[in-house]
């Protein structure tokens, strides 16, 4: 099956990014990681989606498109990843998370990792 590599055009990359605190600290520059490799608390910008038609449709309909800012809320060695994106939460299975290439925006926020 066809696997696409959807990346934001360079011009759009900045325009897309949502002005969150911490955004703009060098979006395109950092190395890219699949979503499931990011530790909890990390803020990141989506660099690209690698997947077939279905994944492209699903991920973009939920707003996980190149240029989007997100924050990893919960992530463990196994099981789905919980991300905060567009002010809401999305559970992303590992298979899908593997298709989302991200660039972290700095270190994870310590506060996020603490038990309430």
């Amino acid at each position: 099956m066809k696997r696409f590599h959807w990346t934001a055009p360079p011009a759009a990359q900045e325009g897309h990014a949502i002005e969150d605190e911490g955004a703009g600290s060098g979006a395109g520059s950092a190395a890219s990681h699949p979503l499931h490799e990011l530790p909890p608390g990390t803020q990141a910008v989506v660099q690209g989606i690698d997947g077939g038609y279905r994944s492209l449709d699903r991920l973009s309909a939920l707003g996980l498109v190149p240029g989007t800012c997100l924050q990893v809320v919960r992530s463990s060695r196994r099981g789905p990843i919980l991300v905060q994106v567009h002010n809401t939460r999305v559970a992303v299975g590992r298979g899908q998370a593997d298709k989302v290439r991200t660039a972290p925006l700095g270190e994870p926020q310590a506060e996020e990792r603490r038990w309430p």
């Binding site: 066809k2 696409f4 959807w6 934001a8 055009p9 759009a12 325009g15 897309h16 949502i18 002005e19 969150d20 605190e21 077939g52 038609y53 279905r54 994944s55 492209l56 449709d57 699903r58 991920l59 973009s60 309909a61 939920l62 707003g63 498109v65 190149p66 240029g67 989007t68 809320v73 919960r74 463990s76 196994r78 099981g79 789905p80 919980l82 567009h86 002010n87 809401t88 939460r89 999305v90 559970a91 992303v92 299975g93 298979g95 899908q96 038990w115 309430p116």
Partner: protein, 681 residues
């Protein structure tokens, strides 16, 4: 679940004839809340995506005229993935509603606008209801409705559907749009010129073959997006040679899909930038705090268990005394009254009324407190947004049986009623996973079976009731897992598909919404008691009274005696077997049957006294085991037939569960005997 054929007949007939208003939007945005407010109906509302299945219709008054209002299921995009997406886009094309009320979520406007961009490709007369502005405000998000309207070229009305704010303005806007449709001047996303040329060429290829009402441009776009349903259509519409040429062209322009998606995202982004003001610093919201516990890899499952145990415990704690009281006063009083009243009539009349209908239906009606409290607690959990977390928590477990987290949602809802879970499997996209979930659904102990447990466990086991109840529920879940593993390894092999699900923000549950829902469920239950269960109780009474004399020479006893060899293995006498068989009508009927069979001849005396004398604990345990695992009730079977489009899967389900329950019954009875529990009747 069959691939839906494009239905060509309705389009022409109904366009214009049935001018109606449709509610559209992504899942969980509040469509049914608006629908209920406008129509006074009571569609299911809760806080998780995917409640409304199929389209629901009601009437509203617009400018003195009755107009049809349609509540559609939510969808995130209009590419055919799930059944819901097909329903929505088929509806838009075939029904061509006069006005579409598109509900957008002010909190996650990007997501709503993405869907809107797809809707605009099919329909232009759109009023945007900007919902959840209350939540947005709390999160420090400000959406400028006027700027949004300018950017979209569509009327925009801010709403808080939950407390009916803005609803009259929304209606006014719909009326205004009907009078002046030219007020809608949307400018949908534009792809780059090179892609536009490819789109146009593909549209030309399909134009001659495409039947009304399909727009060749839209078809071309969906073909380039790899839409499986449109591909199927095109293949059917075109000759083999034409299709091959088209498919070639699609291959050559494969990358255009990225441009189509990109154009949508750019469009969304430009509108968001024009209309949305974001918060400066994000302060930790309730959702953050709660999710830190609720989705924790250790704390999460513990909390889930604690909540479910709490719901059951609280239900039984409050409801059981009420239940006993109702039974002792209302049912017994009614029976005594009827008996006195019917004394002059022939014996069988009083038998029918007192021993049949009152004993039968009366016992079932004493379930009401149990159900009321259970539904209320589950409803509160649902409306709070917690229930959706179950999908996340159980995702890993579900993977073990080749499913993923989404299946956990319909299964959890099955605690209320298995029919709901069978229909609820529509949120699952893969057919294999959906079938597997449907086959497992009847093993979730539904409220009727929980009520049976609540009533019978204390009678059979006294102080050990709680332990037995938990054990039986645990057994059901263990069998569910085991059967899942087995099916996953054999008939329904396959990888679990992609798991991607929006989890709603938590909210304070609204008692009013929950109570409406509880009320609707209870009404349905009473209605069922008044129809199906009355009939079943009457039939059971008749079968157990004729030809007579005496219950031991009745028709039912005959049937029971045929099954005695099997019954003996499970320690079940013919009356218990009859009760199990009658539970096919509705699980509750098992209780009414027991009431009739054990109450006969002894007057209305209540199960509590008659049963322990007649049934030993080992038999009681075996009976409850079989009852919990038994074949799905009639309504569930009907739902399975409807959702799978045939009798094959209902038959499979019945056969599987019949086997499982009989084996379970034998194992439990023989095991209990070995452990020294007292035997049969």
């Amino acid at each position: 679940m069959a691939v839906s054929e494009p239905d060509r007949s309705t389009a022409a007939d109904e366009a214009g004839a049935a001018a109606e208003i449709a509610l559209l939007g992504q899942p969980n945005v509040g469509k049914s809340t608006v629908f209920n407010t406008l129509t006074g109906l009571r569609q299911h509302i809760g806080n998780w995506p995917g409640k409304t299945v199929g389209r629901k219709e009601g009437w509203i008054e617009l400018e003195g005229q009755q107009q049809r209002l349609v509540d559609l299921p939510g969808s995130y995009s209009l590419t055919a993935g799930s059944e819901e997406e097909q329903i929505v886009r088929d509806y838009l094309q075939h029904q061509q509603p006069e006005v579409v009320v598109f509900l957008a979520d002010a909190v996650a406007l990007e997501r709503s606008l993405y869907l809107l961009s797809e809707v605009l490709a099919l329909h232009k007369r759109v009023v945007v209801g900007l919902n959840r502005v209350d939540v947005a405000r709390r999160h420090g998000i400000h959406v400028d409705a006027q700027a949004l309207a300018r950017a979209l070229g569509l009327p925009v009305v801010p709403l808080v559907a939950r407390d009916a704010t803005g609803i009259s303005e929304l209606l006014a806007s719909v009326e205004a749009l009907r009078r002046a449709p030219e007020r809608c001047q949307p400018s949908p996303p534009q792809v780059r010129p090179r892609s536009a040329a490819a789109l146009a060429r593909i549209a030309e290829r399909i134009r001659p073959a495409a039947p009304a009402p399909y727009d060749p441009h839209w078809l071309a776009q969906k073909l380039l997006e790899g839409d499986p349903q449109v591909r199927e259509w095109a293949e059917a519409w075109l000759s083999a040679a034409e299709w091959e040429a088209l498919d070639d062209e699609l291959h050559r322009h494969e990358e255009v899909v990225l441009d189509i998606l990109g154009a949508r995202c750019d469009w969304v982004q430009s509108i968001v930038q024009a209309a949305v003001e974001r918060p400066r610093a994000g302060q930790a919201s309730w959702t953050d705090r709660l999710d830190r516990v609720a989705t924790h890899s250790v704390g999460g499952p513990l909390l889930l268990l604690a909540l479910l145990a709490g719901v059951l415990g609280l239900t039984f704690q409050i409801a059981l005394p009420l239940q006993g009281w109702l039974d002792a006063t209302v049912v017994q009083t009614a029976a005594a009254g009827a008996e006195a009243l019917l004394a002059p009539a022939p014996g069988w009349v009083s038998g029918l009324v007192v021993d049949g209908v009152i004993t039968g239906v009366g016992t079932v009606l004493t379930f009401l407190p149990i159900l009321a409290i259970f539904f209320t607690l589950m409803g509160l959990l649902e409306d709070s947004g917690y229930l959706a977390r179950v999908a996340l928590l159980l995702d890993r477990l579900m993977h073990a049986v080749g499913l993923h987290g989404k299946s956990a949602l319909p299964l959890t809802l099955g605690l209320g009623c298995n029919v709901v879970s069978v229909v609820g499997t529509r949120i699952i996209e893969s057919r294999r996973e959906r079938l597997l979930t449907i086959l497992l659904a009847p093993l979730v102990p539904c409220s009727a079976r929980l009520a049976i447990l609540a009533v019978l466990a204390p009678i059979f086991f006294g102080d050990w009731a709680l332990l037995a109840t938990l054990g039986l529920i645990g057994l059901n879940l263990a069998v569910l897992a085991g059967l899942g593993l087995l099916l996953h390894r054999t008939a329904l092999r396959g990888e679990s598909s992609a798991f991607l699900m929006e989890l709603p923000l938590y909210q304070r549950p609204q008692l009013r919404t929950t109570m409406y829902h509880v009320y609707a469920q209870l009404k349905e239950f009473v209605h069922k008691a008044g129809t199906v269960i009355v009939l079943a109780a009457t039939a059971v009474w008749a079968l157990s009274s004729f030809p007579g004399p005496g219950i031991e020479s009745s028709a039912l006893a005959q049937i029971g005696h045929w099954m005695a060899p099997l019954g003996d293995l499970m320690g079940l006498d013919w009356r218990l077997i009859a009760a199990l068989l009658s539970s096919f009508v509705a699980k509750e009927v098992a209780i009414s049957t027991l009431g009739i069979l054990y109450g006969l001849g002894e007057g209305a005396q209540g199960l509590a006294e008659a049963l322990p004398a007649a049934v030993g604990p080992a038999s009681g345990l075996a009976f409850l085991t079989v009852a919990m695992l038994f074949i799905p009730c009639m309504a569930t079977v009907a739902a399975i037939r409807q959702e799978t489009g045939g009798w094959r899967w209902p038959a499979v389900s019945i056969a599987l569960l019949l086997g499982v329950s009989v084996l379970g019954g034998i194992a439990v009875y023989q095991g209990a005997l070995l452990l020294g529990l007292g035997g049969g009747a």
